[in-house]
């Protein structure tokens, strides 16, 4: 695999050829622009327009939302490129799409259709039970799920330029996202408090490169943007995750599995911006119609968060 020529050069921008380090910086920087925003799962151009009008900072184009993937069972794969292109044509905000864990050919296809961000996602059936994609050889950016600091830094070492909690997608149950965000931030605080000479042993325990761990030690945060994902269904869920330190949220099944998607989407967007204002959150939470039904973690058979560690 070789890095493809950036589409921009055809568009006539004056940039000189871009190195992979520079590309990684640009990809981390796009994630910075998404902060404080809500990224919504959509399955049709019509849903994408509703999401954009409601204030989505980006949309995730996929054929079935996680709740339906869970209900349908079977193997779940990358979406049809024609369907993704339909969504690209419908809205002006960034478009993300999912590929299976380890499926670098699906990622190549998504890069070829000029996607803005790839989610190498445990929501789809993993294509490789040992290796994740070597994301450093791609020009297009990747976001990956993580349940703890070790998983996050392993994904970043592989080239991910944005991290999200895994949560448990398609359930409407926020408990796993909370667990993952708390665990990640507790581990970051522990690393911050280590002596410099203790980082080598910590890197060994976490199975991560010591250089990345040193960045966490010095900055007190991940070297890339960290969003919450998996099970977020209400404005209160979004505010909870933001107060726990998320830099933005993904909402998958929570919007288009609810009674009034446009209204709920708008409320979640505002709750993500004003996550510290309980009075506004109370007003936003009124009369939103049916929330998605939700499944408790004890009731589900497929545990997506276990995929790809």
């Amino acid at each position: 695999m070789t890095e493809t020529a950036p589409a921009a050069n055809q568009a006539g921008n004056p940039a000189t050829p871009i190195t992979s380090a520079e590309r990684a910086a640009l990809n981390r920087q796009l994630a910075q622009m998404l902060k404080g925003g809500v990224i919504m799962d959509v399955t049709t151009p019509e849903q994408a327009r509703i999401a954009e009008a409601a204030g989505a900072a980006a949309v995730m184009a996929l054929e079935r939302i996680p709740a339906d993937i869970r209900a349908a069972g079977g193997v779940s794969r990358m979406s049809d490129p024609a369907m993704i292109k339909g969504i690209q044509a419908a809205v002006s905000i960034p478009i993300m799409a999912k590929c299976r864990i380890g499926h670098f050919a699906e990622a190549q296809i998504l890069q070829a259709i000029d996607i803005d961000y790839i989610d190498e996602s445990e929501v789809l059936s993993p294509a490789d039970d040992t290796y994740h994609i070597d994301k450093t050889v791609f020009a297009v950016p990747f976001v990956c799920g993580a349940r703890d600091l070790g998983e996050a830094l392993r994904r970043i070492a592989e080239g991910a330029t944005m991290i999200r909690t895994k949560g448990e997608p398609g359930t409407g149950d926020v408990v796993q996202a909370v667990r993952h965000m708390r665990r990640m931030n507790a581990e970051i605080r522990r690393i911050q408090n280590l002596r410099d000479d203790e980082l080598f042993e910590a890197a060994k325990e976490l199975q991560v490169p010591v250089e990345l761990l040193r960045e966490v030690h010095e900055a007190g945060k991940l070297p890339v943007v960290n969003f919450a994902a998996g099970g977020i269904a209400t404005p209160a869920d979004a505010a909870l995750m933001m107060q726990l330190g998320a830099e933005g949220v993904f909402v998958g099944s929570g919007i288009f599995k609810s009674g009034d998607p446009a209204r709920r989407a708008e409320a979640i967007v505002k709750a993500t911006t004003n996550f510290n204002d309980p009075e506004m959150l109370a007003a936003l939470s009124e009369d939103l119609g049916e929330a998605m039904v939700g499944i408790n973690e004890q009731e589900i058979q497929i545990i997506m968060e276990e995929r790809g560690q």
């Binding site: 950036p6 589409a7 871009i18 640009l26």
Partner: protein, 183 residues
């Protein structure tokens, strides 16, 4: 006394601007809802992010008209990327024509070196807009291949790139210069 700069904190890379402004000796406040506009501030920064989201929230949260009025009345303002689009297409206080996502999607994002008079300026463009035409009284500040990528119009400075992501303070200094004289 140091100047207080309000940073629009609805969505996007506002923390990066706050950190830079603080390093330059400013006090910063965040604008997240209409009540925040009651706090005194001397200047305004409109950060990068998604202009569609920011414009919608400005309207829905009752901040659009009060901010538009203050900019029109001369409040010093710096808009970057989405902030440029807000000034040109939404507030319409900046007489320039911009094209959104003019360089394409993320694969079209790039770093470059621009010119401020005769000096080099590092530039970061992320799904950036392009300034396609400028109206009367608009002065180019930074150019790339002779085309303006940052401009000034009276109290407003706007850039298609992200000064908050590079080590160069000149746009901030241009924003703060009239304020520092006042203090």
């Amino acid at each position: 006394m140091s100047p207080t700069i309000a940073v629009l904190a609805l969505q996007g890379a506002f923390i990066e601007h706050e950190q830079r402004l603080q390093s330059l000796g400013c006090t910063t406040i965040e604008l997240r809802q209409a009540a925040d506009l009651a706090r005194p501030f001397d200047g305004l920064v409109l950060p990068g992010g998604e202009s569609t989201v920011q414009a919608k929230l400005l309207h829905d949260l009752g901040m659009f008209e009060p901010l538009r009025q203050r900019i029109a009345e001369g409040l010093p303002a710096l808009g970057t990327c989405a902030g440029l689009i807000l000034l040109a297409d939404h507030f319409r206080t900046l007489p320039v024509t911009v094209r959104r996502n003019a360089y394409g999607r993320q694969l079209g994002s790039f770093h470059a070196e621009g010119r401020w008079e005769d000096e080099a300026v590092p530039l970061t463009f992320i799904r950036a807009p392009r300034i396609e035409a400028t109206g009367p009284g608009v002065e180019p500040l930074v150019t790339l291949n002779d085309a303006p990528v940052a401009v000034r119009h009276r109290n407003q400075i706007a850039a298609a790139f992200h000064p908050e992501l590079d080590d160069d303070n000149r746009l901030y200094e241009a924003l703060l210069a009239p304020l520092k004289r006042a203090y």
